[in-house]
Subunit: 361 residues, 3 copies
């Protein structure tokens, strides 16, 4: 009997199963600095304690995606050690700001299972929640992931595909953002003159810039989150694998896309929720990422005059600028496994994310 | 009308124009750690809070060049998004120590403009000042940069080339260094037995060591400063550009050269001012940097018995050791755009920096 | 006369010589974050302040190996600037936990010298001790290193090879670990169900995972420790050297191996001592490291019911998984210079480490 983590195979999961994950993690100013060096975000709220305090935060909060990655990382040894692909996200809600010094842990529940017709794999639907040291939730999300079976002949549990929300209602947004003094929000310091009301539904923005990823960068980032998925770190094994090389953690693409959106959405300082997201193609070291966004909707938040929400679709590509707003139409966010590429799909698209951001009004 | 930052072209600048830059930035112990990992400085004052307190600092100050890079980074989106080359620096004065927890912001003034004869570009002279959260200045410097015109036929403002100081007077130095107890300065802990009085004018020092730069390193560093100049990050675009590859931020070379100078100048713990500096050739990932220095002058500081100043010229090369003190004679610091290479110029030289450092007396 | 550090050659050392090393270093949460990003350790005690406090630490201690590397780094400019090979370690004892904010310095004593028969080199035996700001020791160890002679004809001191302990007695272990409440130690959060009593002598564990090393990673790590050994950083020089490329700091392999052992030894949260260690082959960027461990012994600690000790042998390989527990039998830890490879030696082995770890009982 081995003492190493054998991981869970598809047939090991049960509907309703609750998994408390290992390795609580104190997030520090050091983690924030390294995240900044790896991605280069420029949102003033997260960059300056003074700016944050001026508008009503006690200090700069930790970048929402750093929180996401840390919580996600904890789930890997229990959920996705034998994953073939991370298929999608839904219902991701940021429920409280996180500050340096907070300690995060995570719990997951199995909410869906569906064996694939090959009987060699199955899709596991997981709702994960990140908590602070005091037990209060900071983040919850659902992801579904294709997991290997240990044994193709093993009996699988009955299929159960959960109903997932295609969209989070604006009414539930905002708990991750304290009440702010929007008048104290300095647009020059923030780097963009555009408040919430300056954006309109249907507006498209090419974020222009591109960022090339190096092996050392994605490895350092992914280890920072204590994400142990083997495919990101082991060139010896991956050289003989599907891609012949290390695959970059999908969350790396999300953080790069988020950074790129600053150019055009500089006041979208907080991700309130992710309605859905899909990694529609893998990325590798040497790729240059680009991104564009569409404003899918705008909304007020009930009872709040300080901030408003934009529902964005951000699409990232590899090695192709986004001036003509490329899409994979068959890979819309929040709709589960890709039903197959269509003639009008752009193969350069690697990420399709549908999410709510908050801006000062 | 786009919401992305269009940047300023040459014809957008006006003499006397004042620009308050975006993204105030709280500098943390995390930033310091990452800077240390990227460059490896060993000056005891910046390395040990105990050492710093023993001689009179409240704690270790942030490395002067990290302060410089953070302030510089803020100016990029407004000044040099359409830059072709960063031509030189002058009149750079460190006016106060910065400590972890301080929040920096920056303001620039346009002090000179000169269209080039091609009418496609022009040189912009900028005086930038970095401030702390309380509004007190920590750093000021002038740089001049060649910026594209949006439209070669556009009317350019009348030429105005500012008089720049070739040299900062020792009388203005020292505000970046609190009064110290030089007797408490431990030469063994500092790693060098040589105090201010041990150096003499004309002395040359080969700093011996070499450091090779990797793509991940310069990208992480430059993002840490929130410097968004595109040429450093986008291999897709640069593969078709001037150099066929990403150009390394010039400040990266300055920090590497500064680190190399520790070997020979281990007690030169503070850069008080930069009289002038020139990036005389680009550097790329894979280059190994070397450096040598000449003591151009030595000076007391008025009213201070604790520290004295050395005026140094530090020259850095790529892929060539510096035992024979190579130079580009036509590329002296502080003299504006390079008048052209001469027969006695060494093409390995990439940086020529003229600056004042402080050492304990 | 040069002001750069000439370093010490073999004939410069004297038995009994004491060397106080330069550059005291305050270890911060930033250093910890960068270490985490570079290696990805997941021991809960070091990851979560809350977890650490729950069992009796005042907060998360700094990773033992980060402390080791910082102390080691200080010794390089005085001991191993002219080193050809770091031959081995013995008698390494962690004597107190280190916390962010502590400032470390180091002192070494020359305890052995032996000229090699070529008269071109000699082996220097050094006992180094790391101290906190209050003068209390945190770490001591012996290493022996082959150092060049400046002049092969120079008279060398008489040979003196010290008796080194092959093994540290469990009685001396534990000062680096405060009294803990082992009942409060949460095995789920820690990521492993196996307490001290679950391991038995002779047990072998293949740690399964592999980690590929990039040039940027080992350079950033080694600079973080202010380790200036030239062979790690200077591709220009090394391209003409022994290996044609930069050699990775041996301590990098130790930290990677330690990280790999988490999978199978997740509760071995503290390295109490290193009995001996050997870098039996060099590693370079691009290598993928694997590791396996054998439990050489188990022991109680006198007077302590909270934690017990395991004596481990951890062997790391490059570009070869460890399912069949490869060895270099002629390269056992703690026995001095390699007596030569044997027919049953596996050339993939790069590190052989014999050490004591503590686990909750």
């Amino acid at each position: 009997m081995t003492k190493t983590n054998p991981g869970n195979f598809f047939e090991d999961f049960r509907i309703g199963q609750s998994i408390r994950h290992a390795t609580p993690r104190t997030v520090t100013a050091g983690d924030v600095a390294l995240y900044n060096g790896l991605f280069g975000p420029r949102f003033a709220v997260q960059s300056s304690d003074v700016f944050a305090r001026t508008i009503g935060y006690p200090r700069s909060p930790v970048d929402d995606l750093l929180v996401f990655h840390v919580v996600f990382g904890k789930t890997v040894p229990d959920i996705s050690l034998h994953a073939i692909a991370n298929l999608g996200y839904a219902g991701c809600l940021f429920r409280a700001p996180v500050y340096p010094g907070d300690t995060l842990n995570a719990v997951s529940e199995v909410i869906g299972l569906k064996e694939n017709s090959s009987r060699k794999t199955g899709v596991v639907y997981i709702r994960s929640t990140g908590f602070k040291q005091d037990g209060s939730p900071v983040l919850e999300y659902v992801r579904w992931v294709m997991v290997q079976k240990r044994d193709a002949t093993a009996e699988a549990p009955a299929d159960h595909v959960p109903r997932l929300p295609a969209l989070l209602d604006p009414k539930v947004l905002g708990a991750g953002c304290p009440p702010l003094d929007a008048n104290a929000y300095d647009l020059v310091f923030a780097g963009s003159p555009h408040r919430h009301g300056d954006y309109h539904k249907g507006e498209k923005i090419d974020h222009v810039d591109g960022i090339t990823v190096e092996e050392a960068e994605h490895q350092i980032a992914t280890r920072l989150y204590q994400n142990t998925a083997r495919i990101h770190f082991n060139q010896f094994a991956e050289s003989k694998g599907r891609f012949g090389r290390r695959l970059i953690y999908g969350g790396h693409a999300i953080s790069l896309a988020r950074t790129l959106t600053f150019n055009g959405l500089g006041n979208a300082f907080h991700i309130a929720a992710i309605n859905g997201g899909r990694h529609v193609a893998p990325i590798f070291a040497g790729c240059t990422l680009f991104a564009w966004s569409e404003v899918l909707d705008t909304s007020e938040l009930p009872g709040r005059a300080d901030v408003g929400a934009l529902r964005l679709r951000t699409v990232a590509t590899k090695d192709q600028p986004c001036a003509d707003f490329p899409l994979k139409v068959h890979a819309r966010a929040g709709q589960g496994p890709d039903p197959g590429a269509g003639a009008d799909d752009d193969p350069a698209v690697i990420l399709d994310l549908d999410y709510w951001v908050l801006l000062p009004r």
